[in-house]
Amino acid sequence: LTVGESLLAFKNSSMPLISTRDHLPYSSPIGIYTGSGASHSWLWFVGILDRMGFYNVHFVDEKDILSNALEPLNVLLMSGGDTFAIAEGLGAEGSNKLRSFINRGGLYIGTCAGAYLPLKSSMDSLNQFNFINVKISNISRRLSEPERHSFEKVACSSYGCDFVYHVVREDVLLEMVNGFQADGKKEVIAPLYGGPSMLPSEDIKPIATYKGFTRKTKFLVKKELAEKTLIGNIAVAKKSMGKGHLYIFGPHFEHPYYPSCNLFLEEIIRKEQNGRPHYSKKDSSEDLQNRIKGKALRELLKDLKRELSNTRIMASGMSDFSVSWLIGNKYYEPEKISVFINTVWDKMKVLESMPYLEVNRTLLLQCVEISKEITKDVKIIKSEIKERGDATSLTSKLFLNLKTLSSHFFKLYFKVKRDQLQDQPLGE
């Protein structure tokens, strides 16, 4: 399929963007960072990789990275969250691993917090990265005194004596520059949720600049200040480092409602993996005794489904609560619980519909146990919010469990998808 045809398929149906034969047996090993500081937007990467047929997906946290988990990977996807927590989690050693990964030809794609991470900074933890020498326009030192006072806590993040501020949320209009196009277009709409606006620098090649706003843009400050901060500045940029590249995105190009942006990401991943094919052999490292199938598997899947359902039902009414929880430097709202659970839920249905299924028993059991814990905690949190108006003590644990459940589940899910591909005769 051509890219155009792929997009049409994506828009008109839930079919994968590409035929399964297009990526057999070569599939670039792709890592998604799910460790400290990662919020929920990495789930969007899961969605587009699945739709695009990239099944060789691995979930890595800071411990994995320190244990050389980046070595077999061609691509690392670092999505939104708390940049400071990510930097702190990785530390100097993690930064070195990341640098080596890129230098030897790895592709780093960072959106939002993942875009801030490699930018030059003097702040503790962040100053261990400094892969890209670029300044951002959305920092308070560029504001007048009255402008500094126009921000509320949700629209900014502390940055030493300064703070990084956010002027709009939701849609922004971008202009693709330097010959880049997204889905064949020179202009594209993308969602911005606190990502950077970068000033021109010789260290980067601009890919897209902020051009304007749309009817769906939510202004957090006066429009004039939003324009001053964003318009004409760089939204997406590329930097080459050693044999590898970094692509950094202020807006979330991985957001599932923006297929043109998704296609641009797909093109980058495809292009950058050229010359580095990875033969995805049948994974025989797994203990065959630890596999589960048949009736026992169906029962266990039902147990997981039961708990996911219990949680999503409990969480369904929580979006009405006007609370948010500060975990690290990042605010989490109750509806994010549903984002995690519903993403797993949707893929759960895919697994259920597969007639021949075999998965890792331990991993699935862990998913069931974690999901039980999540159900219990969501119930307590909901009841505490009703009684006391807030509940913060359990939320860190809850979101950690949600991340663990999701990454365990998707590890299992992509393994099933890979196994299915490898069991198909070539050409089918």
Binding site: K305, R306, S309, R312, I313, M314, G317, V378, K379, S383
Partner: protein, 436 residues
Amino acid sequence: MEYLSTNKIAIIDLATSKITDQEVDEDLVRERIGGVGITMALYEQYQSEDPIVLGTGLLTGTLAPASALGMITAKSPLTGKVCHAPLTLYAGLELKYSGFDYLVIKGSSKKPVYLWIHDGVADISDAKDVWGKDVWASTDTIRELMGDSLIQVLAIGKAGESESDFAQVCINYWASGDRWGFGKLFGRKKLKLVALRGMSLLEVLDPEGFVKQCKELLSTLKAVAFADKKGIEEIPAAIGEEDIQKWLAPLVHRHQSCFNTPFPTNTFVFLDEDPKLLKESEKEEPGFLITDVYGLLGFKKLGLSAADACALLRECARYGIDAVAVAELSQKAGKKKPDEIKKSFSGLKGALENIGKGRFSPWSPPKPIFANFGGSQDAQWWERKQAVAYIFGIHPIFALMSPELSEEKLIELANLGTGLGFTSEILDKVIADISK
């Protein structure tokens, strides 16, 4: 079954605690359409195991006007016949979205249990936290346990637990159209309640055509005879009973529709606070939702004030007993004081005269309401109107108000939704089959 269906039936054996899921056979739908067409087929299939079948109509939970209806099909302890009770408010909707079109509950449990039906999962759970509690407390407890106030609860109270002939399966806190003593069947099976919640999606074959047709129907319905009317208090005068509007008016707080139903057939009265109170209520529950016109009329005929009648309706719902039976047997026994009537709930016995003669609950009035349907509107007409409503999942009282929601229109909607080629002949055959 791909369209307008969750494609699942749960067969729940309370005796063994075994639950089996089945797919909804498309051929069965072609032949029996849905609703009571299929609950009857399932009843017959499992009749040796004394089943209670819960089901939804083919259009239940869709944009089709008044598509609120679910149903219970079982053998009535009162009539000895297989009968159908309506599940209105949001219970029919929630059953469909809980991931099952139908539930067959067979066998009896040794200990009290409840069913938690959610997102395509059916669970049998120990009812120790709710057994012995009244309907209101049971609903509160289960919603608290599951952490969601939108859960729809089909519960019995003490009447059902003690296997009273007049025990009713209530919906959340309110009376239902169960005039068949199905609450007794729940109690006999040691089934305290069925809790329903889900966030399934329904597929529609021709979404644009379906939505267009629904919108057109809704526009037509809004311009008809009931357009300037609302509430249960409008119904008695329209069916030749006494006008109760002035009697009830001082208590009326608001009117409430069942899911997607253009006429609000339910009226909420305030008993413990001024209904004209504009600020947020200070009482946990200051009133009661009247859902059964005959229960209200029954207590009025005893000479009770509206406040006493409504307070008794509330007590009936808490106890899980049919108010119509209570009113009729109180009349016969010459009991006219609220306290003595309430005391009679326990151990209430007697033969009812105003018992339903057909298979459909006499909760729906026996004649057209507000509307002119033309031609004869005898018992046979009523039975057919009810059958059609229970097959497609249309609110059975609203069906008596709306000639515009004709069999042809419902068949057309069903075909737009499923493409299964339903015809008047198929509908005739289903109605004939369920009437055998």
